[in-house]
Structures are given as C-alpha cells and as structure tokens.
C-alpha cells in the first residue's frame, strides 16, 4: 500500500496481535488465536470478497469509528463457529441462549476485539478514538462488505486501503476476520500521526 508508512504497518500488526490475544483471553484461553495481517489497497468492487465467498453466512460486529481516527471496523465470524463460540461462552455463564443474549454476546466479542485493536493505535499515536456501539448482524458477509463499499464509493474513490486480518485459532476450526477500513483513503491521518 503506497501510503502506508512502516510505522503504520508495525502499529497495525501490534494492534491486531493485541486483538488476537484479547480474543484468546475472552474465551478463557481455551483457544490461542494468531493474526495473519494483510494491509492492501483494493478496488471497491473487490471488497465484498475479502473474506472469501460473498454469500458465506457470518455473525458480525460492526463499529463506526470517529474522533482523530476515523473508519470502519468489522469483526466477522462464519456462522457455525460463531454459534459454537457463543454456546461455549453462555455455558460458562450458565445462561440460556435467547436471540438477544446471543447478539449481545457477539457484540461483546466485537467490543473486546475492537477495543484491543483500537486502544493500541490510540496509545501509539496519541489519538482520540470513539467507536460506536457494536451493530450486530447475522447475514452474508458480502452483503455487509458491499454496503460498506457502496458507502465508500459515494466518496468518489474507486480504491481504498484495507487492513484485512484472518484470525486463526491454533487448536480448532474457529476462523474470524477483522477488517479495518480507514475513513481517509489517502492515509493522511496516519502520516500526520506518525
């Protein structure tokens, strides 16, 4: 990515490692997650396929981030592993899994991972970061990403930088994706901050 400084890439990697560790901690370390980070520039038409097949059903927590650092953060977990994670967490809490609680759990998972990611960036660059409450959706990942792509396309840019992370659990089939799309396509806020 042309506009990405080495400092930004290093900070992103650190932030995503932190997010992976937070996810491991949230799940009581039964699964150790690692982050495979890619920072790339994409045509907007490529965004819907960032996590594989566009019609893959996922549980997603979405945040709109404002403040000194603006952008969109999406945590997406394929539906089946997401349900296993929720079941496991709710069993620990001794709760019955009604829809509201399931969604709340996914939102909390998003909060933990998203906060871990954003906190590192805020601390590293001294930025004020204000994420929205999580929006939880169980839907096709391509529909979520194409909606973001459509919103970005309205800004008359055809390409956008994307931080795309595939979170993998070492001892289980629990893939997850954490995607950060900066609100500023030129990355100017990063250059200034670093």
């Amino acid at each position: 990515m042309e506009a990405t400084s080495a400092a930004m890439a290093a900070a992103m990697s650190e932030a995503l490692d932190h997010a992976a560790r937070a996810l491991s901690g949230f799940l009581d370390s039964r699964l150790q997650w690692t982050a495979d980070v890619r920072i790339t520039r994409h045509r907007l038409s490529e965004l819907p396929a960032l996590c594989g097949r566009e019609d893959t059903s996922v549980a997603a927590a979405f945040f709109e981030v404002s403040g000194d650092l603006m952008g969109y953060l999406l945590l997406a977990i394929p539906e089946e592993p997401a349900r296993r994670i929720v079941d496991e967490l709710l069993r620990v809490m001794g709760s019955a899994a009604d829809e509201e609680l399931v969604n709340s759990t996914i939102g909390e998972l998003g909060n933990v991972v998203g906060s871990a990611f954003l906190n590192v960036l805020a601390d590293r660059f001294g930025l004020r970061v204000a994420p929205s409450p999580p929006q939880v959706a169980w839907d096709m990942v391509g529909a979520l990403l194409s909606t973001l792509a459509g919103a970005l396309a309205a800004r008359a840019r055809s390409e956008w930088p994307v931080v795309n992370t595939h979170l993998k659990a070492k001892d289980g089939d629990y893939p997850a994706y954490l995607i950060w799309i900066p609100g500023d396509a030129d990355g100017r806020q990063w250059e200034v901050a670093s």
Partner: protein, 186 residues
C-alpha cells in the same frame, strides 16, 4: 449451466443461453433485471449508487440514474422489443447504520423505480428493503430469477407468466398484474 458472477457496477446482457448470472451478497446495492420474455433477451446489472457523480468513470450499470436507459439500449441491440420489456429487482437493504451517509439502499430503489416509470418499463417483481442481504440469480435459459437469503431456501422472484417457458406455452407473457414482494422495514 455456466455460472457467471456479476460484480459491483458490472452488467451482463444476452439471449437465452445455458448460463446462470448471479449477484452474491447484495446489501444496499440493487440487482436489476430487464427482460423481454418473448424474445428471450435479458440484462442484469449490479447497481451500487443512486446517482452518477461528475468524476465517475464510464460505468453506466453502476448508477441507478443511468442503468435503465443503458440496459434498454443493450436489450434493443440484442433484438428485444421495447414494449415487451419488464423489470425485476432485489436488494436495496439497510444493512448498517452509517452516521455520515444516507440510506443508500432506499435511495437506490427509489431512483430505479423512478427511472423505470420514466421509461415506461413495468416492475413486475421486486424483493427490496429490509435489513438483510440477498443473493440474486437469473437463469438465462428459462428466464427465471431467484432470491436467496442467509439461512433461508431460495425463493422464485419471477412471476410465472413472465418466465420464458411460460410465455412460450401461452403465447404472450403480459396481461396480468404486478407481483411485488416487500420485505418489512428495519
């Protein structure tokens, strides 16, 4: 059956061939199909934004305010008769609340409806709005559109009387009313 994926801002037009055209994961975007069931000519577009902006590249299928005349031109070129062309649409959902941006999905749908009205094209079936994604497929051989949602079985969008085989069987595909399937508002 050859499967063809239609990406954001792309379109496909053609005669009845053994192809299935699909737009996967429609969110706020709209999948628009125009077809002449008698001539078995169709076009499908993946519409992203309501209005073309001045600096946009030449991508008429990408914008709701340019897609309809563009597809009509393509269909006519392929032998469709203007008075027989009908439309079907899916998508335009409100998937995410984005504070600084308007509801693009609803605007996409509104502009497409207005464009169809201006060009005198009947919208014979639609499955739009709501807050869920959709995958829209078009069987180019049979002239049948289907819509799939996450965790739900596929639903046929095309009213029977507009499917190619039905039109061939009865001699004319037109005459009955519009079938609209509306998703509930979010």
């Amino acid at each position: 059956m050859t499967k063809v994926s239609i990406g954001m801002g792309e379109y496909r037009a053609g005669l009845a061939v053994e192809e299935e055209w699909t737009i996967y994961g429609l969110g706020s975007c709209v999948g628009l199909i125009l077809s002449d069931p008698e001539r078995r000519v169709a076009a499908m577009a993946h519409v992203v934004l309501p209005e073309r902006f001045p600096t946009a590249a030449d991508e008429p299928a990408k914008f709701a305010d340019t897609v309809v005349p563009f597809l009509l031109q393509e269909l006519t070129r392929l032998g469709a008769r203007r008075e027989r062309i009908c439309a079907q649409a899916a998508g335009g959902a409100h998937m995410l609340a984005l504070s600084e941006l308007p509801d693009i999905g609803a605007r996409n749908v509104a502009v497409i409806r207005e464009q169809l009205r201006q060009h005198g094209i009947p919208l014979v079936a639609e499955q739009v709005g709501g807050n869920h994604g959709r995958t829209l497929s078009w069987d180019a051989l049979r002239g049948v559109a289907t819509v799939k949602r996450a965790g739900k079985p596929p639903e046929v969008l095309t009213p029977r009387q507009y499917a190619y085989e039905e039109v061939a069987a009865v001699g004319s595909g037109f005459g009955s009313g519009r079938r609209a399937v509306h998703a509930p508002a979010p």
